[in-house]
């Protein structure tokens, strides 16, 4: 990745339908081992809300408490379920994105200073984005 290459919003194309849909919507972002924080942000938004349009603006406030995404689960159970669910989906190919949703990177459960922000410790959606950025970087991706 050339230095200074900025992350771009996902390319224009048809809007996504549902995960697993055969519709060839083109949410494909940066190819290879390069990804932008912007695209990670969109992918996480799409993970929580499949009606999210990656071509449009970001719609989930980074300050949103992570507990707000767990319907009917106590926060502890919600975190465990999120940890497993997002890691199971990570390598799953999503036609709408024309790629695995999180390219198979594995989100951590525990935190390690400057290396990992564990899902056990995140407090907000913004923390989850930061966790994902560190995770991508750990797995060799260049995040711009």
């Amino acid at each position: 990745m050339a230095k200074g290459k900025k992350g771009k919003p996902a390319k224009k194309g048809k809007p996504a339908k549902k995960q697993g849909s055969n519709v060839a919507a083109n949410f494909a972002g940066m190819a290879g081992s390069f990804i932008s924080r912007d695209e990670i942000y969109h992918r996480l938004e799409w993970y929580f809300d499949h009606s999210h349009d990656p071509k449009g603006p970001h719609t989930i406030d980074p300050n949103t408490p992570i507990d707000a995404f767990f319907q009917n689960m106590d926060p502890s159970t919600g975190r465990k379920v999120l940890w497993v669910n997002i890691n199971k989906i990570s390598p799953t190919y999503v036609p709408a994105w024309k790629s695995a949703l999180f390219h198979g990177v594995q989100f951590p459960w525990l935190s390690k200073k400057d290396v990992a922000i564990g899902l056990r410790d995140i407090q907000s959606f913004g923390n989850l984005i930061d966790s994902a950025v560190l995770t991508y970087e750990h797995f060799g991706w260049h995040v711009s």
Binding site: R37, D38, Y41, E45, Y47, F48, H50, S51, H52, P57, H58, T59, D61, P62, N63, T64, P65, A68, F69, F70, Q71, N72, M73, D74, P75, S76, T77, G78, R79, K80, V81, L82, W83, V84, N85, N87, K88, Q106, P108, W109, L110, S111, D114, V115, A116, I117, G118, R120, D121, I122, Q123, S124, G126, N127, I129, D130, S131, T135, H138, F139
Partner: protein
Amino acid sequence: MRFAVSTALAIVILAPTVGTAETLSAAKYDKNKDGILDENEALVWRLHVQDPVLAKYDLNLNGRLDPAELDRLRADSAASFSDRASSVANDVLFFKNRKIADIDKVASTRPPPAAPAEVKPPKGGCENQQRLFVRRDRLDTYQYREGTFITGFVPKSKAMGASASFTHDDLDRSNSATINGRVSYVIAQNDPMSPCFTGLPDDPYAKHDFRVPSLFGTTVALWTDAQGTINSPRTKNEKSALKGGFDAQAAIAGGPFFDLQYLIASPYAQTDFRGEARIYGVTAAWEPFAPNVRLGGTIGAPATKYLDWFWQLRAAADVKRVDVVGATALTRGDYAWTGAVARLHLTPFPDRSVYDPFGENLFPDLVGRFYADFTVNYYRDFSRGIEALLWAAEVGFNITPDGAASISVSYTDGLDKDTLIKQRQYLVALNYKL
């Protein structure tokens, strides 16, 4: 941690007018050391209290930033720009290219930023982890997670405490005592929420196959549970249950079908408050979670903007032997109940504000106000060859937006396995919860 530090630095540098507490000592502003602040010294002290940036860089205490002090401020600002920019990167992406009016509307009501919070070990180390729980019932123990070492996860204030009451009626010459409580003592625990958990590798990115079920936390606890009333003189409707036993609980993470499963086995002995009943049994329960099929709850946005739903399933087996009935509604003999309870929860006009705070709700006054539950309990007693089917439907309206107060209408029909009493009843209720 880096996030927290850089955020703090950003606040200090970018928000110089933020008020500070009146804790800035006046001692160092007494330049002539006479023990008194003269007018000039008091002026500088107050300026520094008012402006933390000035307080930090005005090293000669003259109340203004001299060229050398400004140079240091510029150097610090340049050096920390990268970290500070990184700390607000998500906010920049969220707010960019938005209309000013929309930004002001959302920004004025958004929650404050939160840094990742690493769990704290119990005071005095893991040996001092909370083991004794005195609560209202099994649900209030929250799988025996201590509320103190993880701020905000399971606050103790949310649990209901045990209660005991005593009534003496002077006219009736009767006494009555009611007890509702459960005392538990954790013998062994490996809770992955606890900093004392030892079941995970140090490397947070250690390879983990999430499609294969794996043990993710266990707890063994002794408990005694008292629920009921005892009267003197004894009345016909006196009912009480005094149980003692232990819970063996395991969480299973991952697997091809479910993301999380709880398995709970609870052998117990039961009597009543008079010590007359003699009942022994064991309950085994299974609670699965699969948010992709909205089982056990969901992660993410409502199913549609008009209706949201999820369902719950708890399968259980309850095997018990009743030797002496005592003050219970049971009959003598063996019970072997196997079955499940399933509940469908419907929420018309769900709240979508989390997923688009800039958007408009179709029916803002109806968001989160209505709900409907449909519950089916089905158990079969194989030893007696009897079935217990109990179903209930409830619709409700939340009087307050947070659902703390609601009014509901419910209909229940069927046989309750715990009492073996046939039910067919309507209930209009005013509900309140804290």
